[in-house]
Symmetry: C2
Subunit: 190 residues, 2 copies
């Protein structure tokens, strides 16, 4: 046992994304927790808030599969577009892509944006907890870089886009890393 | 009784939208069905298909509130944007609006688009049926008209936008009207 959590009991990360799972495993195992991938679907509701989407999803999963599981949802929020694409980032990426975002901001000097990640964990009793991480940046004028995925090539963190930073380096500062850190701090303190 | 349906039993339309309800009531009552508004929330899942969103919602409502109820969901699908904004039309309208759509299509001659409405009905036994209506048109070069709501001012039906046609006239040809007609045909034939 460690801080009230039985570390011999694996925590299940509900995701179909191998990359996300690998990142989370590295961080969790590095701090003494076992994790396994649990590839099942869950409904993602339409809401303006990642927190609401994540909370609904994890409650649904708890009812079907029990607790000690978590999921992660993230999005790109652009200030001058009223938070668009936000919770619908995956859909926006698949339809209008990086190019669509650049078009929407064409000639617009206000390019402030942030990536946000929300983790929702549910224990065996159905109690859920949310953890979030944010990284602020700006939308570039054009796509740059070859790493990462999604909107990484147009998200400037300092002078470089997320797609110009190696995945290893990005994982040290990313919104997802920040949410995972908060989650693990909480797991250790339970 | 009429065609297997007890017309003394009211059908419940789950919507928070007074305008949608008024339109549906006029059409349903004109064909001998009683309808009442049922203003409760339901989860709208993230999916590329209106049908999936509507079906998930009506099943959720049936489990909580029983059957003989329906809901309606609609969206604007733009061919050259891979169907964007589609099922997320309400969200896209609230964030990037008509102006955002015009920007995304700026300089693009391929402006084909359609509005689609899907109605999902669930009976007392939990059997659900879907009905849909589509109206094809084009995205205009600028906003025109004062009627309607949402993307109506940029949706050209022939030479006029939906916002240049009176609501009464639009309701005769709209995607929602077409879906409602199919729904009522089916109700009569049950």
């Amino acid at each position: 046992m460690r801080g009230g959590v039985d570390i011999n009991k694996k925590i299940r990360f509900v995701t179909s994304n191998e990359g996300k799972f690998g990142e989370a495993r590295e961080i969790l195992e590095g701090r003494g927790f076992e994790i396994e991938r649990f590839d099942v679907g869950y409904p993602e509701i339409q809401s303006f808030e990642l927190e609401e989407v994540a909370n609904y999803g994890v409650k649904y999963l708890w009812e079907k599969f029990g607790g000690d599981l978590f999921l992660e949802d993230s999005g790109l929020f652009i200030d001058s577009l009223n938070g668009f694409p936000g919770v619908f980032s995956a859909y926006a990426f698949k339809t209008i892509g990086d190019e669509g975002i650049l078009r929407l901001l064409s000639g617009n000097p206000d390019r402030e944006a942030y990536f946000k990640s929300v983790i929702s964990f549910c224990d065996e009793d159905g109690n859920s907890n949310l953890f979030s991480g944010v990284v602020r940046g700006r939308i570039s004028e054009e796509e740059c870089g070859k790493y990462g995925f999604g909107f990484d090539p147009i998200f400037l963190y300092g002078e470089e886009t997320f797609a110009e930073i190696s995945i290893e380096d990005k994982n040290k500062i990313s919104h997802r890393r920040r949410a995972l850190n908060d989650f693990i701090d909480w797991l250790e303190g339970r």
